[in-house]
């Protein structure tokens, strides 16, 4: 085979997907820049960019799934995917670490400093540096999000979804297709209920609690952390849908199913991020 090295490592033929992705990112970059500055063309460019991006993801991953099912990937390729996914998740950990770091910095350094005697006297008289707080220059008030309502329920949902996903994985290892499909469907359902609650929580926060992105330190860290997490849950749910469809189509077997495992790793990572969120954003 011309696209296989003698060692059996799969070497793909020239592919147009990378250049398609690059064009998509070009549209998205310019589209986003124009949109945030309210230039008319921005949303058009963004729309085109997202369409190309969607087309690219669908096409590229379909190609990879076919190659995988065609038996092109040997053990070494499988190991490459594992290393690759692991390091990708590490980069995601670092991304979330930034926003957690910001939260800690604000709570332990910048806000106490703004409430210090010097600042009280000279800059911000009357500012009390008690968390949760928006900031000395924001006169609007808000209510913080309580931990033991929807957030606690969401914690239970995500933890359960981790269990159902593992149950599906066991099924795959035992070659029990029905249990695999049900496990995945349950996981997706739990993920989507989580997202539904999150949407409800956001709308409640904005309409009833006056908690907005512009509500200083608390508002910004709350929405950025939970928002990026919610975005990752959304992506994870889409990935789960893909492997559900692939499972229904008879893809994967007990020896070769990295597509499944990669999604599972990602889902568990999102789960762990939520636990940190629950503790430091909602609870403490």
């Amino acid at each position: 085979m011309s696209n296989q090295s003698a060692g059996g490592y799969y070497l793909p033929q020239p592919s147009h997907w990378p250049i398609v992705a690059s064009i998509a990112l070009g549209f998205l970059g310019f589209g986003a820049s124009f949109s945030v500055n309210s230039m008319g063309l921005g949303y058009v460019l963004l729309g085109i960019g997202f369409m190309i991006l969607f087309f690219m993801f669908a096409g590229w991953f379909t190609a990879v799934a076919h190659e995988s099912e065609g038996g092109n990937y040997n053990k070494q390729v499988d190991a490459s995917f594992r290393w690759g996914m692991g390091w990708f998740i590490f980069s995601e950990v670092m991304f979330f670490a930034v926003f957690f770091g910001v939260l800690f910095y604000m709570r332990t350094i910048s806000i106490p400093d703004l409430g210090s005697l010097e600042h009280q006297q000279l800059l911000w008289p009357g500012f009390k540096a008690d968390w949760p707080v928006a900031g000395p220059g924001i006169k609007d008030t808000f209510s913080p999000m309580a931990a033991w309502g929807i957030p606690a329920l969401n914690t239970a949902l995500l933890l359960t979804s981790g269990v159902t996903l593992t149950w599906a994985h066991w099924a795959l290892l035992k070659n029990n297709r029905m249990q695999l499909i049900w496990g995945l469907a349950l996981t997706i359902a739990l993920g989507m209920i989580f997202l539904g609650f999150q949407v409800y929580e956001y709308s409640h926060a904005m309409s009833e609690m006056n908690l907005k992105l512009s509500m200083g330190a608390y508002g910004a860290t709350f929405y950025m952390l939970t928002g990026f997490h919610g975005f990752h849950v959304t992506v994870g749910t889409i990935m789960l849908w893909v492997i559900l469809f692939r499972s229904v189509a008879g893809h994967f077997n007990e020896h070769s199913h990295f597509g499944f495992e990669g999604v599972a790793w990602y889902w568990h990572f999102v789960d762990v991020v939520w636990l940190f969120l629950f503790v430091v954003v909602y609870w403490l």
């Binding site: 990378p18 970059g29 500055n37 290393w83 900031g135 200083g216 910004a220």
Partner: protein
């Protein structure tokens, strides 16, 4: 396949000996490439193009500074030039150049057929052009380019014009490119080595890239987070870097430099790798202290996460923090000293010759070490308080970036050009290029130390009359340096089009797999069959 196992039976060096490779042709070969060598070539040409763009910006700066008073450009345009000169040289020129080296060399040096993810490899490259369009397009945004400095400090960056948004999204795309490229490199190095190629047998260049790629995966997301918060502060009402909302502009600096300091080593460490291949080859001795070199490089990488606030001594921090960051920074001199010692010890009693790659490597050794010393000077808090944001800092990091990273890249290009193209460069012209670069580099930047010590601030288009002579000298040097690089372009084109045929192993001291196991030029697919490593 017979082409790969031995070089001895290769009397002929025509390009046709790997016909079975089905090399794609035309535009498709480049746009849709899945070949590490073609992708490496694109990286290198792209970085040269950006080097010229960033270089022209540098010459605008030096033209303006040739004489005191506002001469040629408006101050805001000057600020934009300093900003994009920095961003383009760091993200567009130096980093892609070394990724180009990584693409070309890593599979050959570890005996792999290609990179682990050939398609993602192409994506990593092809993300660079949209990012470059965004950065260059930012110049034409309403209000002109963002004059905020390459560090994009808040609150200036949260108040700048629309160009800032183009810059932010350019950085996002560059970050994606770097992360994917790094994941590919790490996976290739960990999973694609030929049987018998233990980690501690890898050429030093591979080790430096393994460590660099780790740094990139760890810190590029941090930069993405920083510019994302800049974006939301600008447009979505957050107050991350605004004290009125409980935020802090200094927070931006902490996050930026948590990325920024490792970034310095992301640029320097692959340069160390290239030099660690070149010096042993022309000393005809193995690298002295290979294992200590690996550990020193890893130590530098780990330490680089713990020293970031030495960029911020004047931003306001407790004296205990200043002391900690000072001591931690000085500690980096230890592993760096190990490396410099090892390079010198490699040359000790070696059978030295001074071809162009070796000249650039020795130039690197002297000038990078000088840049390291001025770095030590700047790490001392009370000294830095005097020198912060002066031309002393500019001189310091140009010694590390230009005479360090760029000279090392030149060394590497002259060193591997015979392997890449199958042709020898013109040795005489190469040496002229080296001496011109060396002299003009020092003319440009050595005097900037004096300017900085005398108190000339950086990033300002005008200056006091007392600085006039040194600035004039520096500007003359900059133009000389810039035009010397056209000679480099000529040498490379001449090599490709009409260079003499290169032997498989033109450097008798070079002993990594690409020299010992592959013909020149290296075939389209290097190791279809993994080589046997003793």
């Amino acid at each position: 396949m017979e082409a790969v196992n031995t070089h001895a039976d290769h009397g002929h060096h025509d390009r046709g000996h790997d016909d079975h490779d089905h090399k794609p042709t035309g535009l498709k070969r480049w746009l849709m490439s899945t070949n590490h060598k073609d992708i490496g070539t694109m990286y290198l040409w792209f970085s040269f193009f950006m080097f010229i763009v960033g270089g022209i910006m540098a010459l605008v700066i030096r033209s303006e500074l040739f004489q005191p008073g506002l001469q040629i450009v408006k101050p805001e345009f000057f600020n934009s030039m300093t900003t994009y000169h920095g961003l383009i040289m760091v993200f567009g020129a130096i980093m892609p150049a070394f990724v180009g080296f990584a693409n070309w060399l890593i599979p050959m040096q570890i005996g792999a057929a290609d990179m682990a993810f050939p398609r993602m490899n192409n994506l990593s490259f092809w993300l660079l052009p949209p990012a470059a369009f965004l950065l260059i397009g930012a110049q034409f945004a309403p209000g002109g380019g963002a004059g905020v400095g390459w560090t994009l400090y808040a609150p200036l960056s949260t108040q700048a014009g629309p160009a800032m948004d183009l810059t932010i999204f350019a950085i996002h795309i560059l970050g994606m490119s770097s992360i994917m490229g790094s994941i590919n490199i790490i996976t290739t190095l960990l999973n694609m080595r030929a049987p018998g190629m233990a980690l501690m047998k890898m050429p030093m260049f591979c080790w430096t890239w393994l460590i660099t790629a780790y740094l990139l995966v760890a810190v590029m997301p941090v930069l993405a987070g920083a510019v994302t918060m800049t974006l939301t502060d600008r447009h979505f009402g957050t107050h991350f870097f605004n004290a009125a909302g409980g935020g802090d502009p200094v927070l931006y600096q902490h996050i930026f430099w948590f990325f920024g300091h490792p970034e310095v080593y992301i640029i320097a460490i692959p340069a160390f790798g290239v030099v660690s291949q070149v010096i042993p080859a022309f000393s005809r001795k193995p690298l002295f202290g290979y294992a200590s070199m690996v550990y020193a490089t890893a130590s530098i990488a780990i330490l680089s996460f713990m020293v970031w606030a030495h960029h911020m001594y004047t931003a306001g921090m407790p004296v205990q923090a200043q002391l900690y960051f000072m001591y931690a920074t000085v500690l980096i001199a230890v592993p760096t000293g190990v490396k410099v010692f090892n390079w010198v010890a490699t040359m000790w009693r070696g059978s030295l010759t001074f071809e162009t790659p070796m000249l650039f490597a020795i130039g690197f050794l002297f000038l990078f070490t000088l840049g390291g010393f001025t770095g030590l000077v700047l790490s001392i808090t009370p000294v830095d308080v005097q020198l912060h944001d002066t031309y002393y800092v500019v001189a310091h990091f140009h010694y590390v970036m230009v005479a360090g990273a760029l000279f090392s890249a030149f060394a590497g290009i002259y060193f591997w050009l015979p392997k890449w193209t199958g042709r020898m460069y013109d040795e005489k012209l190469g040496r002229i290029h080296f001496w011109l670069s060396l002299v003009f580099f020092n003319l440009t930047f050595f005097v900037q130390h004096f300017l900085g010590l005398a108190g000339m601030p950086r990033r300002i288009p005008d200056y006091a009359l007392q600085f006039a002579e040194f600035n004039a000298i520096s500007s003359v040097g900059a133009f000389g340096f810039g035009f010397s690089q056209l000679l480099f372009l000529y040498i490379v084109i001449k090599t490709i089009t009409s260079g003499e045929k290169a032997p498989d192993r033109p450097w008798e001291g070079a002993d990594s797999l690409e020299w010992t196991h592959l013909p020149s030029p290296a075939p389209f697919h290097s190791f279809v069959e993994p080589p046997v490593i003793k």
